[in-house]
Symmetry: C2
């Protein structure tokens, strides 16, 4: 009897921990979703269920394994339908960084000699660094407006001038939330027979994916929208028959060897479908909350600026230039008050110097060092935004102008 009671407690432990952590997440105001999002309830449930019922290796030769293969293909179909592309183009990966590296390596290997690749300078580090490594000499840097937007007309002119083999522009910026005109860019590339590569890691799960299949190459990461970490998706170009992420077994149509992480894929796709079918309907309301937050901050902190204020932006992201003090001080003080925000991209942490995104938008290094990034999730409510605005006002006096004096 005693043993049984202990066993029941054992099995309940994960659930109790889960409840405790939900309280924790609510107590802390988490505003760093663009770095990573907490695992969504649907993703959690599907991951567990898949590990219980469909954990076999899809390549194994018995019935249970064949059923996993069928489910894996169904997940691929679901995702392809929402993106608007053939399922055969969808490759499951370990995340957007793996995808960015593979796309750049493939372009380097297959573009005609001399063909150049135009890259948006505000791309995520995984695209920038992979492009620099694999495409070095071939790179042409695009210009962005002061709001961080690539002009489709400028790209069209560049394409018309000839010599471009590919164009890489993200769907939504991870630091500023600024949206790029990827539909027009995809059309321009199609007209000029150049490949269009679109990093959609911050778009997927936040805005409707429909139409993204028009890009030749698309990458995304599950953990940016509530799926598990270590899972991602890549849409390959229609004509990329010789595209490989790795060599070995014949998994993923022979494009990515290695046992498929079907529990991870199932969890990602389940949360993605949930976001597409339910959450994106909430966008208008969320944009309003973000705008009210921006107004409140500007009122409370004269001199504060919203980066990319003139551009269309994600409903969840605000990059703020604060009126004084170093951004690391603001982040540390806000953390003490229970608000988790960041200085910029988590993937750029540890690198010297201010944000390359803000630099491309012509922010001086001095202003860029006053920037913080705030990024909400679907579970972030209007009251959370309001509390964050109040916290910024409160912290303002703690990060005194004296900081600036000390810095001098």
């Amino acid at each position: 009897m005693k043993l049984r009671r202990r066993r029941t407690l054992e099995t309940l432990r994960p659930l109790l921990a889960s409840a405790a952590s939900m309280v924790e997440i609510c107590r802390v105001h988490y505003f760093d979703h663009n770095a990573t999002a907490p695992l969504a309830p649907v993703a959690r449930e599907v991951w567990l269920r898949t590990h219980d019922r469909a954990w076999q290796n899809p390549s194994s030769p018995y019935g249970a394994a064949a059923r996993v293969k069928v489910q894996l293909d169904a997940a691929r179909e679901n995702l392809a339908r929402l993106l608007g592309c053939r399922a055969a183009r969808v490759v499951f990966t370990s995340g957007a960084t793996e995808g960015a590296n593979a796309v750049c390596a493939h372009l380097a290997r297959t573009l005609p000699p001399g063909a150049r690749v135009a890259v948006n300078p505000t791309e995520h580090p995984c695209v920038l660094e992979a492009a620099r490594f694999f495409l070095g000499d071939r790179l042409v840097w695009l210009e962005v407006t002061r709001d961080g937007v690539v002009s489709p007309r400028a790209v069209d002119n560049l394409l018309a001038a000839g010599g471009l083999g590919a164009v890489a522009v993200m769907a939504a910026n991870n630091e500023t939330g600024v949206l790029q005109p990827w539909r027009e860019l995809a059309q321009a590339c199609r007209r000029h027979r150049a490949a269009f590569f679109c990093d959609a890691a911050q778009w997927l799960g936040k805005l409707p994916a429909a139409g993204l299949g028009a890009a030749d190459w698309v990458i995304g990461s599950a953990h940016k929208f509530g799926g598990p970490k270590g899972v991602g998706v890549l849409v390959a170009a229609e004509d990329a028959e010789d595209f490989h992420l790795s060599r070995g077994g014949e998994q993923e149509h022979g494009r990515r060897a290695g046992t498929e992480d079907f529990p991870g894929v199932a969890a990602m796709v389940a949360e993605f479908v949930e976001a597409e079918t339910k959450k994106v309907l909430l966008e208008t309301e969320r944009v309003r909350w973000r705008e009210e937050f921006e107004r409140a901050v500007r009122a409370a902190l004269p001199g504060a600026e919203v980066v990319g204020a003139g551009a269309e932006r994600l409903w969840n992201t605000v990059s703020l230039i604060l009126p004084h003090g170093d951004n690391t001080r603001w982040v540390a003080r806000l953390d003490k008050h229970g608000f988790q925000v960041s200085t910029g991209s988590a993937c750029a942490t540890g690198k010297d110097g201010p944000s390359h995104v803000l630099a491309a938008m012509r922010f001086s290094p001095e202003r860029a060092r006053r920037a913080i990034r705030v990024s909400a999730g679907w579970e972030t409510m209007e009251a959370d935004w309001q509390k964050l605005a109040e916290a910024l006002a409160a912290v303002s006096t703690e990060v005194a102008p004296s900081d600036a004096v000390v810095k001098l």
Copy 2:
């Protein structure tokens, strides 16, 4: 009240499913652990707990994220200690296939021009295909005995003759369970200053990892020993400063960009520590069960052969050449009886022809087509092995010699 009851049921659903699946796993006799293992209870619990309490991005600039970074480094230390290497050499990956590709690409890029790479012909497809793609012209194939073992003396002679830059030999074979003398091979390579690359995907979690750090390059996959799918480990060579799995952020000492899957890593390492500290103590008993199974099969099915019978083999794996009939028929019939076994490597499924492992061991294609692979887990009991032997005897009459006649 009604709502509350529904919510309780909701939260209990994953646990009920888990219990149901345990019943399912027990009902079915799963003998395909070398393809993938069910998620171990410890791994499951740690994955959930980590997603509750340590899900933040380790690169983010607040306290909770810094604590995740500390835990990630502690996991790296734990693994390094068990492998016997410096923690700085350990890189977390998405699995062994990613690792094999990265090692072969690195060798191709860094070995002196003309230096050759000697490869064991019974390697897993991820090593073979990556080696063929990245190292094509440089490859030298090693010989194996009829039991599938590479001779350290032969490798030593080859190294002494000069011209070899690296040697790739796995720790344990995925199809036959045959163990390779990797300690001696690592020493021989060290003496001759050649790099030693050891795929330990089937060794880790089954036999003690101690000493594997003596190899320059080691790869493994969590899901082969009860960790989650999509997670793996790579040990990099001491002098491989310019080794990169991907470019982007500065994660994993700058060697593998992309947000770390800490919940996956934590689950893998927890199960690995459990296997190392508790399970490997059971090895002697398990070897006995396997040997009794082999005796029972040989007694019941005259003409049945155990592949690599003269070699040291994993306690969990038996590759059997059955006396008649096509292996796909045996696998299908055993599946009907509730026994899941395979024809060979899941990663080789879909490829034409019989096993490359058996071919290297000089089995004729005709005999190789009668081979099945049986691979147990720590949860497999003596009675399961006995039932499998009985099932093979029972199925024998269903896979009649008539099959062979039809084949002619």
